[in-house]
Amino acid sequence: MHAVAAAPALLVAIAFALPLASLRIRRASFFHGVALLATSVALLLTLYGYTYVSSSGKPLVYRMGGWPPPLGIVYEVDPLSALLAAYTALVLVAIVAYSSWYLGEDSGLPYYYALLLGLESGLLGIYYTGDVFNLFVMIEVLGITCYGLVAYYRSTREAVEASFKYAFFGAIAGLLYFLAAVLVYASFGSLTMGFVAAFSRPVYRLIYGNLAAVLIWGNITAAVGVVLALSLWTFTFKAGVFPNHFWLPDAHPAAPTPISAVLSGLVVNAGAYASIRFLYTVFGVYDPLSEFYELSNYVKVVLLSVGGISALFASIMMVIQSDVKRLIAYSTIMHLGLVFTGFSLGTSEGVRASVYHILTHTAGKALLFMSAGVAIEVSRTRRIPELRAVGRVYKLAGLSIVLSSLSLVGLPPLAGFFSKLALYQAYVESGHFEMVAVLLISSAIALLGYLKVVYPTVFGEPPVSSGVSRLRGPELAVALALLVALLLVLNPPVVGGILEQASRAATDASRYIDEALNAFVDYVSRLHPAPGG
């Protein structure tokens, strides 16, 4: 097995092993240690995958069970998917470290970590997969683990209700995406993304005419409109973008704080990534060589509209929240709306800005949830007016709340400023000045919401001494410091080249297609070696 493909498999194996181990082992430190070790190994594997893919200059195709595409399932890892996978694994190491502080000796640790590692496996699978149906499986893995984690505090009505709502909507979204996958197979005759991408472009159908004649048995033109509609509905649900955001303000606050950080910082990214992959790589909606290029204006209008409405609606709703976690959850809807407006422009600058904003939003949001979680812990409440100034007794938590809020607002020199600047430039270069207004207005309104959190937690009343006894231990400090460092280093000189490579991988599908087709040709040529070869 290639090291890149090992990460999701390893995480799933450990996820299943943990509840079994709990039959014999009771020590909390064991479960914290195993989870930290598993996520650290996953980080190393994903980092290796990223360096391998970025240095080789072409996507990596991993054939599951040795079956070639289009017969078997493949992972196809390019710089975009490898970057998001490695970044996800990095943030999850910080979140597991935070979890070990937050949950301490909690009796449900084996199940908590089983679900969390399963969630990470689902996320990595979504990024790595090169198969339309396998994407459905990974979306379901991600969804089911999320529903379980939202209902982790199952004795509270709030958690059960939020989880039920999330699961109900998720089941409909999964069903619709499943229907889309069926339609893809019924028309293209293949579920391999590289093959579907090739057959969406007439030039490849010309070159691989025999293959196309064997595989394509349906009307791809009629199918793709419906496929994209069903897929985009599902992906906007996963990303929590208006009007499919309704579950999010309930689910994210109801979960344990580290899971709120995972849901708001990482899980929503899967919807944005899948949209980019489908629109740019698989169906080439923004590719003039694609048969579906004529959809580009329609898709752009719809996604710019829902993204813009999301940003404005969520920023306005942030202002009236009195629950700190609910306020941060609305901020997620706002930022994902901005991400959708970026890549829906159809330009490489737009994709670059969206990917950049995904990275900065993830770090800022995870840090804000985790540091707000510390404030909640010492204040024993989530109500903003009653929050205590955790910054007075634990400077790193106070600093984290300020830095993450300012980064999410978009103030220099923090990472959020640079990604919003990239979005601004993408809007201007494509002539969408109305989106500049949306960006500025939503950021200005959201500033009021963030200040509501910053004021009591930094300048308010100090916490009572009994509540601060838990603010010790290296796990919390390491988790917060890692994300603070990310907010400071994610600036254009450091990540410019990485983002350029990722956006090129998204907007130029030729390498992605070539590697998928080559995997098939290589397999066939080995079955029938050339005479004398």
């Binding site: 019924a186 009307n219 033109t221 009629a222 409109g225 509609a229 959809l295 829902v306 009236i320 929240q321």
Partner: protein, 101 residues
């Protein structure tokens, strides 16, 4: 349109129609309103308060908030689907028609 695509499209359409027909019947006079979130923001949460940073915008936009909370983020499943389902139908009709389907 070939037969498999037609069948799948009809299945999808019938599913959507079934949901659309079910929604009015799902409306009941006995809606359970719990005290926990259900996505609704209780009225008390956006009363005017001089001590909060965001008081001005909350005061100026009171009517907007009332509309958003009561009409959009009401917390009722039916209201959610009133937004999500037309969005799906809009996507499907727009993209299908755009390709000359």
């Amino acid at each position: 349109m070939d037969l498999p695509t037609l069948m799948l499209t009809l299945t999808a359409t019938s599913f959507l129609l079934a949901v659309a027909l079910w929604l009015p019947t799902a409306r009941t006079s006995r809606i359970r309103r719990t005290e926990v979130y259900l996505s609704g923001e209780p009225q008390a949460h956006f009363k005017l308060s001089l001590v909060e940073v965001a008081w001005a915008i909350r005061y100026v936009m009171q009517r907007l908030y009332k509309t958003l909370v009561e009409q959009v983020q009401s917390g009722l499943f039916n209201d959610w689907f009133a937004f999500s389902l037309p969005y799906l139908l809009l996507l499907a009709v727009l993209l299908y028609m755009a390709l000359g389907g």
